[in-house]
C-alpha cells in the first residue's frame, strides 16, 4: 500500500453519533470525554492499547474502518502512514493548530510531503529514573544503566525502539561509529548497539511492557534504576517512593503522540470534532497533568498553572520551543536514510535484533 491521498471534508458537519478510538490508557478519561459526548452527541467507544504494535494491529484489523482515531506514537505513525491505514487531516479545520509548538506542526513522524497525516497531541522525554535511596549520587549519564554497579536492578522498556536509546548513548560515547540520528543506523552501527544491549541484558531485572510494571518494580524494590517516562516518576513520587529522574548529558529520546484518522473512518465528523476538542488548551492541560507529559498547544500553559501551580514550568511548556530540541523523538526506522541512501536498517530488522537481545 501507499500513503493515502487527501480526502478532506469541506466543513465539519453533524456528528454521526459515535466515535471509535484506539488510545493509550489515560488518553481518554471520563473527565474530558463525558463533556465532549454531551456537547457533540458523539459517543466515544474507547479501545485501550498496551503498545504501539497493538495500535497498529487494531487500526489495520478488518481491513481498517473499525476504528476512527488512534493516538499513535512516533514509532507507529510512519507504519500507519505507509501502510495506507490513515489519511491526511485538514489542519484548517482545527482552530488550535496555530497555537502548537512550531516543531510539532509538521514533524517528520506525522507529516509527509506537506500532508498532515497526524495531529500532534502530547509529548515527553524518556528519562533516567532512579531510586534516591539506593543511587545516592545523581547519575548524569545513560552509562548508569549499562553499568555493572546495578546488576540485576535495572529495568528498561520492552520495545524495539529502545535500540535508539542505546544508539543515542553510543553516539556520544563512541563518536567513531558516526551515529548522527539514533533512528538511522547502518548495519555496522546497529551491530555495535545490539552488542551493547546484549551486555546490558545481564544487568536487567525486567524489560517492562506496561507503565505499571515499571512502577511496581520500583515500588517493590526489584529495580533501582532504569529508563522511564515522567508519568512514572510522578506516580511514584506521589505514592511516596524515593525516586528522581533526569535527562542525562547525552540527551534523551522521547515520544510525541499524534491523533491519526483512519483512511476508512465511518465517523469523520465526530473525529474532526474530537480532534478540535482535544487540541483546546483546557483539555490539553488536563491530559498533561493526568498523564505527566507536555501538551502541544502552547496556550495550555495557563490552564496547567491554574490546575497545578508551577506545572507549566515543570513540564517545560514555557520553554518548549527550545526544550524540544533536546529530545530525539521516536520515529519508525526505515531502510531509506535521510540522505536518500538505502543503507539504513528498517524496523523489522530492529525488531528481530531486539528479540535477539531479549532472548
Amino acid at each position: 500500500a501507499a500513503p493515502a491521498a487527501p480526502n478532506y471534508p469541506q466543513t465539519i458537519g453533524k456528528g454521526e453519533g459515535a466515535l471509535n478510538i484506539v488510545a493509550w490508557e489515560g488518553y481518554a478519561e471520563d473527565a474530558w470525554i463525558k463533556p465532549f459526548e454531551k456537547d457533540t452527541g458523539c459517543i466515544v467507544n474507547r479501545k485501550y492499547a498496551g503498545s504501539s504494535d497493538e495500535m497498529v494491529t487494531l487500526m489495520r484489523q478488518g481491513g481498517g474502518g473499525e476504528y476512527d482515531l488512534v493516538s499513535a506514537s512516533g514509532d507507529a505513525s510512519l507504519r500507519l502512514i505507509y501502510g495506507g491505514t490513515v489519511q491526511p487531516i485538514d489542519v484548517k479545520l482545527i482552530p488550535d493548530f496555530e497555537n502548537f509548538v512550531p516543531d510539532l506542526k509538521a514533524p517528520p513522524h506525522n507529516t509527509i510531503k506537506g500532508l498532515h497525516y497526524g495531529l500532534s497531541y502530547e509529548w515527553g522525554p524518556n528519562v533516567l529514573l532512579y531510586n534516591t535511596d539506593k543511587v545516592t549520587t545523581a547519575p548524569t549519564s545513560w552509562s548508569a544503566i549499562y553499568d555493572d554497579a546495578y546488576k540485576g536492578k535495572v529495568s528498561v522498556p520492552d520495545n524495539p525502539i529502545q535500540i535508539a536509546d542505546a544508539a543515542l548513548y553510543l553516539a556520544a560515547k563512541d563518536p567513531s561509529l558516526g551515529i548522527k540520528d539514533p533512528y538511522e543506523l547502518n548495519e555496522k552501527q546497529l551491530d555495535a548497539v545490539v552488542s551493547l544491549l546484549k551486555k546490558q541484558r545481564t544487568l536487567v531485572k525486567k524489560y517492562w511492557a506496561l507503565a505499571s510494571d515499571e512502577i511496581e518494580l520500583f515500588k517493590n524494590g526489584d529495580v533501582v534504576i532504569g529508563a522511564a517516562w515522567p508519568y512514572q516518576t510522578i506516580t511514584l513520587k506521589t505514592a511516596g517512593a524515593k525516586v528522581a529522574d533526569t535527562i542525562p548529558a547525552e540527551g534523551a529520546t522521547g515520544w510525541a503522540d499524534s491523533w491519526m484518522l483512519s483512511s476508512k473512518s465511518k465517523h469523520v465528523n465526530c473525529a474532526y470534532k474530537f480532534m478540535a476538542y482535544v487540541s483546546t488548551p483546557a483539555v490539553q492541560a488536563q491530559q498533561a497533568l493526568f498523564f505527566g507529559e507536555t501538551p502541544a498547544n502552547l496556550k495550555a500553559c495557563e490552564e496547567m498553572d491554574k490546575a497545578d501551580k508551577g506545572s507549566c514550568a515543570r513540564y517545560h511548556l514555557n520553554e518548549a520551543t527550545t526544550y524540544i530540541k533536546q529530545i530525539k523523538f521516536w520515529k519508525t526506522p526505515q531502510k531509506t536514510c535521510a540522505d536518500g541512501s538505502k543503507t539504513c536498517t528498517d524496523y523489522s530488522v530492529w525488531q528481530t535484533k531486539w528479540q535477539e537481545v531479549k532472548g
Binding site: 467507544n45 484489523q61 478488518g62 481491513g63 473499525e66 506496561l210 507503565a211 512502577i215 506521589t238 505514592a239
Partner: protein, 312 residues
C-alpha cells in the same frame, strides 16, 4: 453488608482450617492403620507448600479487593471498604462487561457441548480404531500450535477479504462481515477450547455400557429419547468437567477480545488489564476479577439447594 461479608469471610476461613486439620488428622490415622501408604506421602510436603502459597495468592487477591487506590497517585489505601464493589455495581459499563464475559463463557460452553457430543459419540461408538486415532489427532494437533497463531488464523478467515468471504463469494453467497464482532469471538472461543470439551465427554461416553442404550430401545424409546434420558444424564460428569474447562478458560481470557473482538468486546480480563496496567489500581482489578467468582458461587449454592447435585 460489610458486617455480613466479614462474617462470611470468617466462617469460610474457619471451615477451611477445620477441613484442613481434619484432613491432617485423618491422614495420620490412616498412616497408622495402613503403614503401606506412608511412603506415598513423601510427596506431600511440596504439595503442602504449594497449597499454602496457592491459598496465600488467592487470599492476597481477595483481601486487596476490599482496599482502595488513590486514583491519582496510585497509592494503595489499606482501609477496608466495599467501594470497589459499589463502583462496579453502579457502573453500567462494568455491569455490561461482566455480563458479556459470563454470557460469552456460557455460550461458548453450550456450543462446545453441542459440537463435542456428537463428535465424541462418533469416536466412541461408530469409529473404527484407525478412525479413532485419526480423529484424536485432529482434535489434538491444534493444541500444539501457539494459541495466538490459531487466533490469527481465524482473523485471516474472517477478514473482509478473507477465506470465508472468498468461499461465500465463490459459492455465490453474500459476503458477511463477522470479523471483529462478538460473533467472531464466539466462534473463535468455541474453536479454541473445543478439545477441552471433547476429551472429558469422550472419557465419559466410553464408560457407558452399550447395553443401556439397547435397554432403552428395547423399552420403546427412540434415539432422541434415549439420548436425553439415558446417554446425556450418564455423560453428565464428562459434560460438567468439560464445561468447567471451557467456561473458565473463556472467562479468564482477554486476548481473543483484543484480537478478534470489535468495539464493545471487552472482557473482564481487559478491564483487569487496564486497571493494573495503567491506573495501577490493583484493588479495583481484584474486586472486578472476583465478580464471576461470586456469580458462580451464588449459582452453585442455588444449584445445590435445588438438589441438582444429588444426581451425581
Amino acid at each position: 453488608m460489610i458486617d455480613r461479608l466479614h462474617t462470611v469471610f470468617q466462617t469460610t476461613t474457619d471451615r477451611l482450617s477445620a477441613v484442613l486439620s481434619g484432613a491432617v488428622r485423618r491422614l495420620s490415622a490412616q498412616l497408622w492403620r495402613r503403614p503401606g501408604i506412608s511412603a506415598g506421602l513423601l510427596l506431600s510436603p511440596p504439595l503442602g507448600w504449594f497449597v499454602l502459597i496457592y491459598l496465600a495468592a488467592l487470599a492476597a487477591l481477595f483481601v486487596s479487593a476490599f482496599w482502595a487506590t488513590d486514583s491519582f497517585t496510585g497509592e494503595i489505601d489499606r482501609t477496608w471498604s466495599l467501594d470497589n464493589f459499589r463502583t462496579i455495581l453502579d457502573s453500567e459499563t462494568y455491569r455490561l462487561i461482566a455480563f458479556r464475559t459470563i454470557f460469552m463463557a456460557a455460550a461458548v460452553t453450550i456450543t462446545d457441548v453441542v459440537l463435542a457430543f456428537p463428535f465424541a459419540y462418533y469416536m466412541v461408538r461408530l469409529a473404527t480404531p484407525g478412525q479413532r486415532i485419526a480423529l484424536f489427532t485432529l482434535v489434538l494437533v491444534p493444541l500444539w500450535s501457539s494459541y495466538l497463531a490459531r487466533v490469527y488464523a481465524w482473523r485471516l478467515i474472517f477478514a473482509h477479504d478473507g477465506v470465508l468471504n472468498w468461499l461465500l463469494h465463490g459459492l455465490g453467497f453474500e459476503r458477511v462481515e463477522i470479523g471483529y464482532t462478538n460473533w467472531a469471538m464466539w466462534i473463535v472461543f468455541s474453536y479454541i477450547w473445543l478439545p477441552f470439551m471433547i476429551m472429558p465427554i469422550y472419557a465419559a461416553l466410553e464408560r457407558i455400557p452399550y447395553s443401556l442404550f439397547e435397554a432403552s430401545l428395547d423399552l420403546g424409546a427412540k434415539a432422541w429419547r434415549t439420548f436425553f434420558k439415558v446417554i446425556l444424564p450418564l455423560a453428565l460428569p464428562g459434560v460438567v468437567a468439560g464445561s468447567i474447562f471451557t467456561f473458565s478458560l473463556t472467562l479468564g481470557d482477554y486476548i481473543t477480545p483484543v484480537l478478534v473482538g470489535g468495539p464493545g468486546s471487552d472482557f473482564i480480563g481487559n478491564v483487569v488489564y487496564a486497571n493494573v496496567g495503567i491506573a495501577n489500581n490493583v484493588p479495583f482489578a481484584a474486586a472486578y476479577a472476583t465478580i464471576p467468582l461470586i456469580v458462580m458461587a451464588i449459582y452453585l449454592i442455588a444449584a445445590r439447594r435445588s438438589g441438582a447435585f444429588d444426581v451425581m
